[in-house]
């Protein structure tokens, strides 16, 4: 059993589960196992019940010839790494139709057709594509307030990252670049300071310090990133934004 991969995955899946947006109602178990630092089979069983995240890990693992909780697999999904390129586009397309719960098959086809095989099985891409294929981006009377709400939703749901500026007991002050929705496009705004929650009982947060880069999900600091991971999350997020904006531009031009 790959403990590090399981913990890395659980850290990033924890907050949307706590909020009731994905996975089984077993939030207490996830937190307990994260704090214990030694994941057991029960945590694996819990993580297998996530309707979207776990199927994505299986897809990446199949494509890359790895075990599902090999550290590089959840890292590819949440942060981004070279394993994403090892998943054939045709497999991702089939997976999106047959294994991914909740997606409208017509919208999946729309994205894959426009992006011609470039869609990656990366979490942030999934989040942004959900926004891009919804009826909201081309609503006739969308207000600035609606733009703000949508950007906040997508920003919270993607994995973002921030540099720690100040460490509190339960909160970190971080500098990060929020997402903005403007003129039918998504982009990263200028850096801003924000407060996020963290759990000092989850390793390595007992020793988190100013200057560390942390991954963020729903205003929660999930993990402290290595320099390689910090570079990768920026790189893969930029690629996701490029693809989504290409899709949105095409969608608008067809109208």
């Amino acid at each position: 059993m790959n403990g590090n991969g399981i913990l890395f995955h659980a850290k990033h899946a924890f907050m949307p589960n706590l909020l009731g947006y994905c996975g089984p109602d077993e939030r207490g178990r996830i937190q307990q196992e994260l704090e214990g630092g030694k994941p057991g089979e029960s945590l694996v069983r819990t993580l297998e019940k996530f309707e979207a995240a776990y199927p994505f890990l299986k897809l990446i693992a199949r494509g890359a010839g790895r075990e599902v909780f090999d550290y590089a697999v959840p890292e590819a999904y949440w942060i981004g790494n070279g394993l994403l390129a090892e998943v054939p586009a045709s497999e991702f397309y089939t997976f999106s139709h047959r294994e991914l719960k909740g997606r409208d098959p017509r919208k999946v086809r729309e994205v894959f057709k426009e992006l011609d095989g470039a869609a990656p099985p990366h979490h942030s891409f999934y989040v942004m594509s959900t926004f891009a294929t919804s009826s909201v981006p081309d609503g006739p009377n969308i207000t600035n307030e609606a733009h703000r709400k949508i950007a906040e939703l997508v920003d919270n749901c993607r994995i973002s990252w921030g540099t720690v500026k100040k460490v509190g007991k339960q909160e970190l002050q971080v500098e990060s670049r929020p997402l903005k929705a403007e003129d039918g496009r998504l982009a990263l705004a200028t850096p801003a300071i924000r407060q996020v929650k963290y759990n000092p009982g989850v390793r390595p947060f007992a020793s988190v310090k100013r200057g560390d880069v942390v991954s963020l999900h729903w205003n929660y600091a999930c993990d402290v990133l290595t320099p390689r991971q910090s570079t990768n999350i920026a790189k893969y997020t930029a690629a996701d934004l490029g693809l989504i904006n290409r899709f949105l531009a095409s969608k608008h031009s067809r109208k």
Binding site: A13, P16, L19, G20, Y21, C22, F50, E51, A52, A53, F56, R98, K101, G102, R103, D104, P105, H123, Y126, V127, T130, F131, S134, S135, V136, G139, I142, A146, K149, I150, L153, N156, C157
Partner: protein, 83 residues
């Protein structure tokens, strides 16, 4: 990670709704203000926000997909039926 879920807005007040999803779950306090959903309409929800209002035929199709996915998941869990 958030799952996109489709369901029915069973009550709406001041842009917030209780939505009963096709997968049997329900969520209170869904923000339906952006799509201006009304009571009884079908919506697609991501996180805690409705991003689309579905037509009745779209909703039926989504419900059917959910049923198929649930059946496939059950077969994976307990094994394919014999005969």
């Amino acid at each position: 990670m958030c799952v996109t879920r489709a369901g029915k807005a069973v009550s709406v007040s001041k842009g917030r709704a209780r939505v009963e999803f096709f997968d049997g779950r329900a969520m209170d306090d869904v923000d339906v203000s952006i799509v201006n959903a009304k009571k009884g309409e079908f919506v697609e929800v991501f996180g805690n926000m409705a991003l689309s209002v579905l037509t009745a035929s779209e909703a039926r199709a989504r419900k059917k997909v959910w049923g198929e996915v649930q059946r496939a998941a059950a077969i994976q869990t307990v094994g394919a039926p014999r005969g």
